[in-house]
């Protein structure tokens, strides 16, 4: 892999928000990702792209400490995950939870505040007001008291994003946030992610719609068990690199 010039020049002074060295993760002895070396850019919107089974979600989960690394080292803002929990906000795939759960949209957003509220304390009125601000930011303030199962798929996704905003993290990790959402939701999420970027955050999305990569994202990590390329979309998202990632013959 060609070293990224920009990162080389600034790398000495600044610590990447996510840094992965020699990472291998295996399920039942079969590697899902192998020897991944990757330093994330300091800020921006980054897509992790690759075919099914390329290990995109696995990489995200390994960074979060949800699946154990067989080999390698992971640093978040220079720290091991145990010391960096407050720096990360994680948005799991929407399908990973039961939306019939007895909770309102506001209840779910407030979950993003639980770490800061602390043990044994109830969610206060002030906390609920804070949560309302984040719900408003994704355009759902009038749905605050709606049962989450009565929201559309796109609205559910926005509730998840609002919960992540409530965490006030430095770096955001989202698993397929754009999968199956409506146009409004897509527009709102892009706006929110860009404002996070402009405030200096890195937003990482597992993404599988190749056609929308250039319009939404600044950076791309092309992954197929190993890193194929990682750089700004302009330089890395080439037909040749995409073909290599998907194991297709390189055209023209």
């Amino acid at each position: 892999m060609r070293p990224d010039k920009e990162q080389l020049s600034s790398g000495a002074m600044t610590i990447p928000p996510l840094s992965v060295k020699g990472l291998t993760v295996a399920y039942d002895g079969r590697p899902a990702i192998e020897n991944v070396n990757w330093d994330a850019p300091l800020t921006g919107l980054l897509a992790i792209v690759g075919p099914n089974g390329a290990g995109k979600s696995t990489l995200l989960k390994a960074i979060l400490g949800l699946v154990p690394a067989a080999e390698g080292e992971i640093r978040i803002h220079g720290k091991p995950i145990e010391d960096a929990r407050g720096d990360l906000a994680y948005v799991p795939q929407r399908s990973s939870v039961d939306w019939d759960f007895p909770a309102t949209a506001l209840d779910v957003v407030a979950m993003g505040l639980y770490r800061r509220i602390g043990w044994m304390k109830p969610v206060s009125r002030a906390n609920r007001e804070q949560a309302r601000v984040h719900l408003d930011r994704v355009g759902l303030s009038e749905f605050a008291n709606r049962q989450i199962g009565a929201l559309s798929g796109g609205q559910q996704q926005r509730v998840f994003v609002a919960r992540a905003l409530a965490q006030k993290a430095k770096t955001y990790l989202l698993d397929e946030p754009f999968a199956g959402v409506d146009a409004t939701t897509e527009k709102v999420m892009i706006e929110v992610f860009r404002s996070l970027r402009d405030a200096g955050s890195l937003v990482v999305c597992v993404h599988h719609d190749l056609s929308s990569v250039p319009e939404i994202f600044d950076h791309v990590l092309l992954l197929n068990r190993r890193v194929i390329a990682s750089a700004p979309v302009k330089t890395a998202f080439t037909p040749a690199n995409v073909a290599r990632t998907y194991g297709l013959p390189v055209a023209g």
Binding site: R85, Y90, D98
Partner: protein, 310 residues
């Protein structure tokens, strides 16, 4: 138990706590158990631990039998409560550990692990009960109340124990409400953000175990799971909010146990556990029809309103 009561007038006087000291003690003790079961049950249900609860309940049977045998071997009366309940708790914990081991260390899925552990422990219990029947000591006749439950002969201190325990369970659930709700709704999110998910899961399991062990005396180990599962299921039809649902579920659990115990006081031959469960089921049925959160009638009215607009 007071002199044989009959007819509906007697039933009313029982409900109003005018049926003599013993009956009052029994009914209040049962209600305390019902609150604990309904409250804890919400989290067992939301975290999908209902089947595990059933398995550990059935797994108390060998423990009760072993407790009996140990007490007898010490020359004590076989039916001494501390021995029976300690035995019950021990084999229930063993069953919970077995389920965990079988489902994580073998290729069996969790439901298969639960079913095999439940059946095996229950079978051991039945064999031990048969052995006990052949012993030449007294008291074994009373062991069957642990299978189907009985309020007859419940003592004041047992009722107080149930109330104290009920308060402790409510305390745990109140203090950990945020975190228990979080792991039930989005386990991976909780884990990713450093919540001690294992300890929280164990807390739910420990509370379920405690409800089971203290409840088998009244409801019986075969049916105790119903008092853990049915009140939250009924409460779900009344609220879309986990907190309110928990309060309602505790109230439903208390009501079911209270009325069930009252009925079995009026008709002393009825099996207490089964009556309590049937009362709880009636509450569930009414809730499914009338409950504002997705109950049958509110849903039909809502649909008609929508059609009216269209």
């Amino acid at each position: 138990m007071p002199e044989a009561l009959s007819a509906s007038q007697d039933f009313i006087s029982v409900l109003l706590l005018q049926a003599g000291y013993n009956t009052v003690v029994v009914m209040l003790g049962a209600a305390a158990l019902g609150i604990a079961a309904g409250t804890v049950g919400v989290f067992a249900m939301l975290r999908r631990r209902a089947l595990v609860a059933d398995a550990v309940a059935h797994a108390t049977l060998p423990g009760v039998a072993i407790g009996f045998l140990v007490a007898v071997s010490f020359g004590l009366p076989g039916r001494s409560l501390p021995f029976l309940l300690t035995g019950a708790a021990a084999t229930a914990v063993l069953a919970a550990i077995s389920i965990q081991l079988v489902s994580t260390r073998t290729r069996l899925t969790e439901d298969a692990a639960i079913a095999s552990v439940l059946a095996t422990f229950f079978a051991v219990g039945i064999v031990l009960l048969t052995v006990i029947q052949t012993l030449k000591t007294g008291g074994q006749a009373g062991l069957d109340i642990y299978l189907l439950g009985a309020t007859a002969g419940m003592l004041r201190h047992e009722a107080i124990t149930l109330s104290v325990f009920s308060l402790i369970a409510i305390g745990f659930v109140t203090l950990l409400f945020k975190e228990l709700t979080l792991i039930a709704f989005d386990f991976e999110f909780a884990r990713a953000h450093g919540f001690p998910v294992r300890a929280l899961d164990l807390t739910v399991l420990a509370l379920v175990l405690a409800v089971v062990v203290t409840g088998i005396r009244v409801v019986g180990l075969v049916l105790i799971v119903a008092l853990i599962v049915i009140p939250p299921a009924a409460a779900r039809f009344w609220s879309n909010h986990a907190g309110r649902m928990t309060v309602i579920s505790g109230a439903f659990g208390a009501m079911s146990a209270y009325f069930g115990a009252a009925i079995s006081a009026v008709y002393p031959d009825t099996p207490t556990g089964a009556v309590i469960v049937l009362v709880a089921f009636s509450v569930l049925l009414l809730s499914a029809v009338l409950g504002p959160a997705m109950g049958l009638i509110p849903r039909m009215l809502g649909a008609r309103k929508l059609r009216g607009i269209a």
